[in-house]
Symmetry: C2
Subunit: 449 residues, 2 copies
């Protein structure tokens, strides 16, 4: 999950791993790449103006046309994808990455269903955030409008191409895509299908463009194109996100990493603790809202039952010494190292530590959290309130599974990602987070006194 | 207004212009500065946690204590300021910059009054943005919480020190300040007064800190301190803002530049046009919401009256050839160059051009605008609606002065600045824009199916 796609030096222009079937420009100078990507961004700006004018019915027609075109082009998509997968195998790509790279008929059906779901959601554009009539008679309203040009830099997961394009189009934006070079053949077909579908309903094909053909150099230009690109969304592993966040001059929405904690205090119910831990760790271990560290108050009696249930479910427990001493003999465990507290396993592994107070639990969380989601299991009101107040994460949960930090679960309809930064959006982002606002002031000649 | 305070190269550590009275570290290595600024940021984080817990009454007490302390320390503040001003004069600083640098008893009174106004405003922290009970019984709410550590980089205007500190404290944040070195003696006293006032009411002094003693190197470290600093606000001229925006790895809110347009279409009322143009250009020419370019439809008959009124008010008109041909003989003008369309004069100057259509007016605005504020004067409904829909600026105004793009005028109470970016905040920013949100989820054992 940490495939670094972008070099951190601005002068790097080489992405020599041309995917089969992709059109790779030969011997491009940095200034050529810059001019080409700027030209793509300028076309995107013009397309964005037309997208911003499209009403919901028109945009939904486009989303359904994309879905129908994906179905109609399934064969071509799967063939291109097979070439990417074959090249990946030849390059020794890991099984997990190959799985993410692979499309199947069923996965394409899933993308089509997601587009239909998007078409059924309300339009975030035009929503009035607030408004009033001022004492001087000015009518004032703040309205959601599209961002304009949205760029996405992501790894070799072709489903993201369709996913992020659909979200951007529904919210009235144009999108510039930069996917992993290992998926370039697949993405090239998907972008063509998206563009043709847009044109078929009278919307601009340039609302979806890719800079994949310019490799890492193209991604670097995209990251510096402040003013041309309104927002940049990195999607992928830690290295990719850190590279984008550190090097981008374009405003970035940081998504992702979840080193998620659950704290069981001395008043927590045993049965609830067992069920929530099983759900939070084993329901889908590879995602960001799965729990990675469990902290147990030394006064709690639930540890044996919780540990036994997790052990039985195949979870490997990385425990500190006091936890090990308190575990039933039948429960397997390995010693926790310092790095375990920092690790987002995304697998059937869980770090478990013992604390003697709320204070100690909150200090541990502050030291190690990525600010995604933390939960407390408690029946003590003041502990619940203190945890809510003092834990500074995008989502703070009392007596429920951490798996609820999800746009769909929280009623946002679609999810752009889960923001772990504090600016603009925090936690699950829906379509509204792909819009900005505009103040509209209407008068009849008012001047300022 | 374009004093560049920060070098763009990351290895620049020299700010040799030590202000009189400031404690300037001697022979600091870059790694020393980094460690020192990181240590300041870590203290700021701890202080931010305590500020986040302070209720409104406590924070308001702090703001009033700061006001009283500013009054009590007026003599010391003015003495330090006199040293900065004397050094500025010796360095040949321009009269305009010296004016911004200068504090007087009346100006200190103004700062005290602004703090009192802040104390009277509602607390943005704890406001529930949205909430619902989900079908599974989970109670969900999204609540405004403080950002945490806010940093500000600004020019040699000591009033900004008190202004931004007051806004940050009211919204429950800690703040790290980096003012212009030319104001370092004044800022040093102001920061001491702020810190003592915080302590006097039992809040942490470290909620207000400065990195002025580390010069440009300190500012560079601050800009790279992603994770330690939650948001960075540059305040000042174009060069300062561009430097921060381009070099910061910390999320930035870009404020400022306003190349503001008014378009008079062929249906606009003459009297209204005269009054609005006079107000928008002459009421306070040096601020960002003052009009800089007037576009007049060739079918309008109001130009002679508008131009004569502006000329009489001392406005120098920079006009294209068609406007010049249409001006009354008695009205002075100079020819507009291409650069006039791009210029934010911030003075009694106005570029004036003639257009033959809405289309042409909107194209001109798109080419030259900074996205701050644009207005249309019209009595044509479809023109008004088209202008609102197609002009992509933070504020779009119909039949009123552009001077209304202001936090106070739009009912926000206090103004942090006027954002010209699309992420997080757009247009006038109030206290709420110095907060982020937290999702709070409360259940009784819910797990995800």
């Amino acid at each position: 999950m940490t495939e670094a796609l972008i070099h951190t030096t601005a002068d790097n222009t080489g992405d020599t791993a041309a995917a089969p079937g992709a059109q790779q420009p030969v011997d491009l100078q940095p200034s050529d790449v810059e001019a080409a990507v700027h030209s793509i961004a300028d076309r995107s700006r013009r397309a964005a103006r037309r997208m911003a004018m499209a009403n919901r019915a028109w945009k939904d027609r486009a989303l359904r046309a994309v879905g129908a075109a994906l179905k109609a082009n399934t064969q071509a998509i799967l063939e291109a994808n097979a070439r990417d997968v074959a090249a990946g195998k030849a390059n020794g790509t890991s099984a997990a990455l190959l799985d993410r790279l692979t499309l199947t008929g069923a996965r394409i059906d899933g993308l089509v269903a997601a587009l239909e779901n998007l078409a059924n959601l309300p339009d975030p554009v035009g929503n009035v955030v607030r408004g009033q009539t001022l004492p001087n008679g000015l009518r004032l309203r703040q309205v959601n409008v599209p961002m304009g040009v949205v760029a996405a830099i992501y790894e070799a997961r072709p489903n993201v191409t369709v996913d992020i394009a659909g979200l951007a189009l529904k919210s009235g934006n144009a999108v510039i895509l930069r996917g992993g070079s290992a998926a370039e053949a697949t993405n090239s077909v998907l972008v063509r299908v998206l563009r043709e579908a847009l044109e078929s309903v009278g919307l601009p094909a340039d609302a979806v463009q890719t800079v994949d053909q310019y490799g890492r150099a193209g991604a670097n230009v995209l990251m510096r194109a402040r003013g041309r690109v309104d927002v940049l969304i990195p999607r992928g592993g830690r290295d990719l996100i850190q590279t984008v966040v550190t090097n981008s001059a374009v405003p970035v929405i940081e998504t992702g990493e979840g080193n998620v904690h659950i704290f069981i205090d001395e008043s927590a119910d045993e049965e609830m603790a067992v069920e929530i831990l099983l759900n939070a760790k084993t329901q889908r271990p590879s995602v960001c809202n799965t729990v990675e560290t469990l902290l147990v108050h030394s006064g709690s009696t639930v540890l044996p039952a919780v540990a036994a249930a997790l052990d039985k479910a195949g979870v490997r427990l990385h425990v500190d010494e006091r936890i090990r001493a308190a575990l039933p003999a039948a429960v397997d465990s390995v010693p926790a190292m310092d790095e375990d507290w920092a690790t987002e396993y995304m697998d059937l592994d869980l770090a478990v530590g013992m604390v003697d107070s709320m204070e100690e639990a909150i200090s541990h969380i502050r030291r190690w959290t990525t600010g995604h989601t933390e939960a407390i299991l408690t029946n003590n009101l003041s502990n619940a309130e203190r945890f809510i107040a003092e834990v500074d994460s995008a989502a703070v949960i009392v007596n429920a599974s951490t798996r609820f930090t999800d746009g769909g679960e929280l009623g946002l309809g679609a999810e752009v990602g889960i923001s772990t930064q504090k600016l603009h959006a925090r936690g699950p982002m829906g379509l509204t987070e792909l819009t900005t606002t505009k103040w509209i002031v209407q008068g009849e000649g008012q001047t300022r006194g």
